[in-house]
């Protein structure tokens, strides 16, 4: 593993008495694509702004490459930001926009010209030097904003929901573009988004946040397959979260029926939350599964069918390529390794704080 580049230590921040970040600890490795993911107001943008130097934390410190940069102004930091809604300088041409940071650093004209050419090529907008920002589409403006940041050769690029203002198709294209850019530049990307699909597609590491607390840190696979609490499970993709009882190691009772599972160490007869992804619910003819149910809704989604099945007093969300018409009696089964067991939060506060930390 590469070395730690940024270390956020015990960061707290409140605005007008409202706690936004509470004792946040997070480290970011060199050359990592790290995504801060969470609903609006979870503190992800504040975290990014503290990294960029636009906010000063009330408590805690920011260590960058071994140095404390907590009170350093943005213009003295070795990182650059790509803002939501681009924030291009509308009174300057594209070339002047990209050259802004380099001119401030008094680079030579030939160096700047080369850099502009290189950056425009990198974002696939060759020949746009003399255009004005207003004459570009949203996607093009965002690429210019990225070009303007990367010509300064930052060690870290901060991206604040950069694709939020773009339409779906363009957003997907830009996701691949960003992954390509990161691989070509070989620098650290810290990305803020509320879009879980975006996070899963691009990241090496996802940090799920809620109400100022980190809920889980992990790879996209880990976050999706092994959510540590109900919030993460619910926020990342669709899921069935069912209140259950852990009978003993590797045996859980869900809605009155016992299922073998793979988790251990929760104790005996302990109340837990169980997460089952909709695509992991197996529907079959009556008599072949574990719980009896009836299909209540059926929608064709393109890739799969989405069904709701009423069984044992719970509405199960099911994704399947096979289809059962509404009213059909079905049996439900789940493979042991697809049952994810989580501790129950004792209170709402604890839920926010992430009890498995």
């Amino acid at each position: 593993m590469s070395k730690v580049l940024i270390d956020l230590k015990n960061i707290s921040k409140s605005f007008d008495g409202q706690m936004v970040l509470d004792d946040l600890n997070l480290y970011i490795r060199e050359n990592e694509f790290l995504t801060l993911l969470g609903p609006s107001g979870c503190g992800k943008t504040t975290t990014l702004r503290i990294l960029g130097g636009f906010e000063t934390p009330d408590k805690g410190c920011v260590i960058f490459d071994g140095k404390d940069i907590t009170s350093l102004p943005p213009n003295k930091r070795q990182l650059n930001t790509v803002f939501q809604r681009y924030a291009l300088f509308t009174h300057m041409t594209i070339a002047e926009n990209i050259a802004f940071g380099l001119k401030i650093k008094n680079k030579s004209k030939t160096y700047i010209d080369d850099k502009i050419k290189y950056a425009l090529k990198l974002v696939n907008l060759d020949g746009f030097e003399r255009r004005m920002p207003d004459s570009l589409s949203g996607g093009q403006q965002q690429r210019i904003a990225i070009a303007r940041a990367i010509v300064n050769e930052p060690k870290v690029l901060l991206l604040d929901e950069p694709l939020g203002a773009l339409d779906l198709k363009l957003r997907q294209d830009m996701q691949y573009e960003l992954i390509r850019l990161k691989n070509e530049l070989g620098i650290t990307f810290i990305y803020v988004t509320h879009d879980q699909e975006e996070a899963l597609t691009m990241s090496d590491t996802i940090v799920v946040m809620n109400q100022g607390y980190i809920q889980q840190i992990g790879s996209p696979e880990k976050i999706y397959n092994e959510p540590e609490n109900a919030f993460v499970a619910d926020f990342i993709g669709d899921s069935n979260i069912i209140s259950s009882t852990m009978i003993e190691d590797k045996l859980v009772e869900i809605l009155g029926t016992r299922f073998p599972c793979v988790d251990t160490g929760f104790g005996k007869n302990k109340p837990v939350d169980v997460v089952i992804r909709p695509e992991d619910v197996i529907l079959s003819r009556p008599g072949t599964g574990k719980i009896k149910g009836t299909v209540t809704h059926l929608i064709f989604k393109g890739v799969h069918y989405e069904m709701e099945v009423a069984a044992a007093g719970f509405e199960w969300l099911v994704h399947s390529t096979g289809m059962f018409p509404v009213g059909t009696e079905v049996d439900i089964d789940v493979d042991p390794f697809n049952i994810q067991i989580m501790n129950k939060p004792a209170s709402e506060d604890e839920e926010a704080a992430g009890i498995n930390e």
Partner: protein, 276 residues
Amino acid sequence: MNKKALLKKKLLGTPYFIWSAIFILVPLGMVFYYGLTDRTGSFTLENVLAISTPEHAKALGIALLLSLIATLICLLLAYPLAMILCGQKNGRQSFIVLIFILPMWMNFLLRTLAWQTLLEKTGVINSILNFLHLPSLNIINTPYAIVLGMVYNFLPFMVLPIYNALSKIDGNVINAARDLGANPIQVFMKITLPLSIPGIISGITMVFIPALTTFVISKLLGGSKILLIGNVIEEEFTQASNWHLGSGLSIVLMLFIIVNMLLTAIFDKDGEGSFL
């Protein structure tokens, strides 16, 4: 929209069209008629060219000079103020704006008369200065008093368009400039100032034009010694009863205003001054 609906919509504008025909177009036509004819009613450019006589040229020159100075002072006072205003929270912002607009609700003539009383040799300010054993201030009936009156009366017209322009600048654009390495001075010179130019231009227009054409301020605060072009025109109409000469000089003044308006139209595309 079909033609009938369009006609109906246009019909709603009728009162305004009648109003502007009677009170704008007709008087304007009369100014041009009088300005371009002599007493016998035949065409002449004499009244317009009369601006080149030493007496009139001097009045125009002083008017231009004083209104330029007043505009400059307004700009220097208004810009920092508008910046401070933008940095405030919403509640306090509207309070400060209110304080600035408040005097505008009072009659213009009344406010200027008040300054006359304040500045008089035995006026309020000098009484206070005398009481404190300080030398008295003799600026009434001088160009200084006229500039003071102009600045006082027209300052809000400079503050508001600049404030409008500044408050439209996206905070993230400023942040982006800082992020790219610009220090506060560079941010101001390269980002804030260029982006606020439309506001500055329309502020300049809105101070310069009324200052250039005023005759009340110069009359009340300048005594009868200092004649601005506005005073000359007023006298031609009221005392000399020479409507032809007065109109001719008005046409010249109008040319200056039109040039200024054209400049505004070119620079202020976003309509920063359109709040009035």
